[in-house]
Symmetry: C2
Subunit: 412 residues, 2 copies
């Protein structure tokens, strides 16, 4: 008998018919001699509706009360789902974050799970129930409702799988799995069968929306096998698992593209200690998250150029801050643009193969695409380019690294 | 400094603008040096919406899960209200049934409150917060969410007022108070300034919807002064309080009319012991609530007629059951009608005045209205009449007992 945690997202439970379909599917799996813990999101659209209501009440809605409001979304779906399962003749019980006890810190609207009490869940599982748990929500030590922020239901599912020592965690969504790149950009995009936690972390941090990055981190830490798959088909999806030999033979697993960033450059800054801190402290204080930072030292004259990227939505605010600081620290000029894109390749195979970066740069150059910034990690290379080239770059890189084939050979 | 509990019903919080208006009103009262505990219902219409969703999930929705679903309605309003109050610059915190700990039995969808823990509420009140509490909901000892059934938010409010030893409990609704009769039927209907708990109990049990009967019972038991008033005006409403001398000078306080019942008569039943039990046990087993029962013994021959009323919606079912039993017990005939009305007069003054019943019967007779059944209590007289006379009867009785005047004199 296996213990399986399954999470269904907002589109999977968007209306009564879909909830009933999910219930049927879960009951079928349960009848195949499995213990089942189900984690549900709110019906698609509910969270936005609540945010709109809250915004009418208070200019900046109080975070504690926001969590009381938002958590009702998942409460509705777990209750309806439990009824639907019972309607199928199988016993089922719903539990909220505070009933399980999913204890979090008190950072309302983006709380972190501290621990999960599995006693109640195991009690119901042992009595033959399917246990359905409200995703996205927890409770503080003092009993206040919290929510886990964007992608929180994924985190709930993986954390429960870890706490319950489950055999696997299925993340059901509206796509069939993790793809080598965005199928809307590149028709040759291929579903990946198996991917390592590290690669998935990079992909998630680069903007692949299929799985929340915190849940991937948790899965890696506790070695939870995660299966990302579609609610609407029976097809196998993508397994996110420990790295294995098979994976290393792939040089590159995926190509991503992020158009949500903007670039700011400060030219001819006197290169003295503390300059970076003076620049980035006020930006950080304004709640703006800086992604890439690149500093080039001009030879000889202690003058440097500094370039970094910020979310495009914060571009104007960041520019205003930077212009003030640039004046104070004696920089010559501030420039920037918000029509850039960050194209990245990710793959654990990079660790053991030289020349991947050169291939990437060469392929882009051959298409006449100028690289504005470069940033690398052990298993990732990102290049900032002009936005207008982004689709071309993705398709070219996808081809160059043979991602449409299950066995790769690099074209150079 | 007074401690005031205020309850606002579903129409009072039906949309964002109304919630903000209620918040403004509450903040104003708080600034007049009052500690405030606010109890809210779900937005009008939400409960029906949830019931429809649940009915799509399971033929008879599971009661435990129904409560999980229904309780989200109040959770939404308390969160939005707390934001609105904070938007007005006053501190406020929301608490759910399980956070306060409003402990109930485990009769899901119509639970009864066993006790209320006031520690958390007092903590927040002492720190200067307005405390807003989700009405209608509680939690069992083992942590399952319960709801209190129809009118449950009134019960929450009065129970909280009792537990907190509050100075008063304001029930805000969409009418201006308790009326001598239905203003839609009788234009001379007058708002009652003060009414006793016992009279209010009778009025509530006779179908006056302004205040839930359980909440009146609780208010009486704990001596909570209840003020029924309108959300939409500043006018004083009706105080429901201990009986006082002033009230006794009023012979009759109100006239009610209930058209939701049907009458069933079994004629010529052999009058042997156990007949009533044989008749009413199967009706009770079918979940049908019998209201009035009248038995006339025909002189001499041990034959009796039995007449009783049931909810009109159960009329057909009850007739089917009665016809079977009537045959078994050798009754001659079963007849019935569902076009009846029960007209009642209520008043603590009846206790000390003879002749009130005679006046009622005489007034009805003078209008040619035939009385089909009579039932009395210490402070109430009910007559079942043909439905077509109901408005006439109400207006005539209202006039006869001088209910349009604050000081009554009986016209005979």
């Amino acid at each position: 008998m296996a213990l399986i945690v399954q999470k269904f997202g907002g589109t999977s439970v968007a209306n009564c018919d879909r909830i009933k379909n999910v219930a049927k599917r879960v009951v079928k799996t349960a009848h195949a001699n499995n213990k089942m813990v189900i984690v549900l999101s709110a019906m698609a659209g509910e969270t936005n509706r609540f945010v709109e209501l809250a915004n009418q009440m208070q200019r900046i809605p109080n975070p504690r009360e926001m969590d009381v409001l938002l958590s009702t979304g998942e409460q509705v779906t777990v209750a309806l789902f439990a009824m639907a399962v019972k309607g199928e003749g199988k016993d089922c019980v719903s539990l909220l974050g505070n009933q399980v006890k999913i204890i979090t810190d008190d950072t309302h609207t983006k709380a972190r799970i501290k621990r999960i009490d599995v006693e109640k869940i195991n009690h119901y599982l042992d009595s033959g129930c399917i246990v359905v748990i409200a995703g996205f929500q927890g409770v503080t030590e003092r009993g206040d409702i919290t929510t886990l922020g964007r992608g929180g239901s994924d985190t709930t599912a993986v954390a429960l799988a870890a706490a319950l020592n489950a055999d696997q965690c299925d993340i059901f969504t509206d796509v069939e799995g993790v793809y080598t790149t965005d199928p809307n950009v590149c028709t040759k995009a291929r579903k990946i069968d198996r991917i390592s936690y590290d690669e998935m972390l990079e992909l998630a941090s680069l903007g692949a929306k299929v799985l929340d990055i915190r849940s991937v981190g948790l899965a890696k830490r506790y070695g939870v096998p995660v299966h990302v798959r579609s609610t609407f088909t029976e097809t196998e999806g993508t397994w996110v698992v420990e790295e294995d030999k098979n994976m290393e033979s792939m040089l590159v697993s995926g190509v991503t593209c992020n158009k949500q960033e903007a670039r700011i450059t400060i030219s001819r800054v006197p290169d003295t200690p503390g300059i970076a801190s003076r620049l980035f402290t006020p930006i950080s204080d304004a709640g703006i998250v800086v992604d890439m930072i690149i500093q080039n030292t001009r030879t000889g004259n202690n003058i440097t150029d500094m370039t970094f990227t910020v979310p495009r939505s914060d571009y104007e605010r960041a520019m205003n801050i930077v212009e003030v600081v640039a004046h104070e620290i004696g920089a010559e000029r501030v420039s920037g643009s918000n029509d850039i894109a960050k194209v990245s390749i990710v793959g654990v195979g990079m660790r053991n193969h030289a020349g991947i970066a050169n291939t990437m740069f060469g392929v882009l150059a051959k298409e006449g695409i100028n690289i504005l910034m470069i940033s690398t990690s052990e298993i990732k290379i990102s290049c900032v380019i002009e936005e207008k080239y982004s689709e071309l770059a993705v398709r070219t890189l996808h081809d160059a690294f043979g991602l449409d084939k299950t066995s790769q050979s690099v074209k150079q």
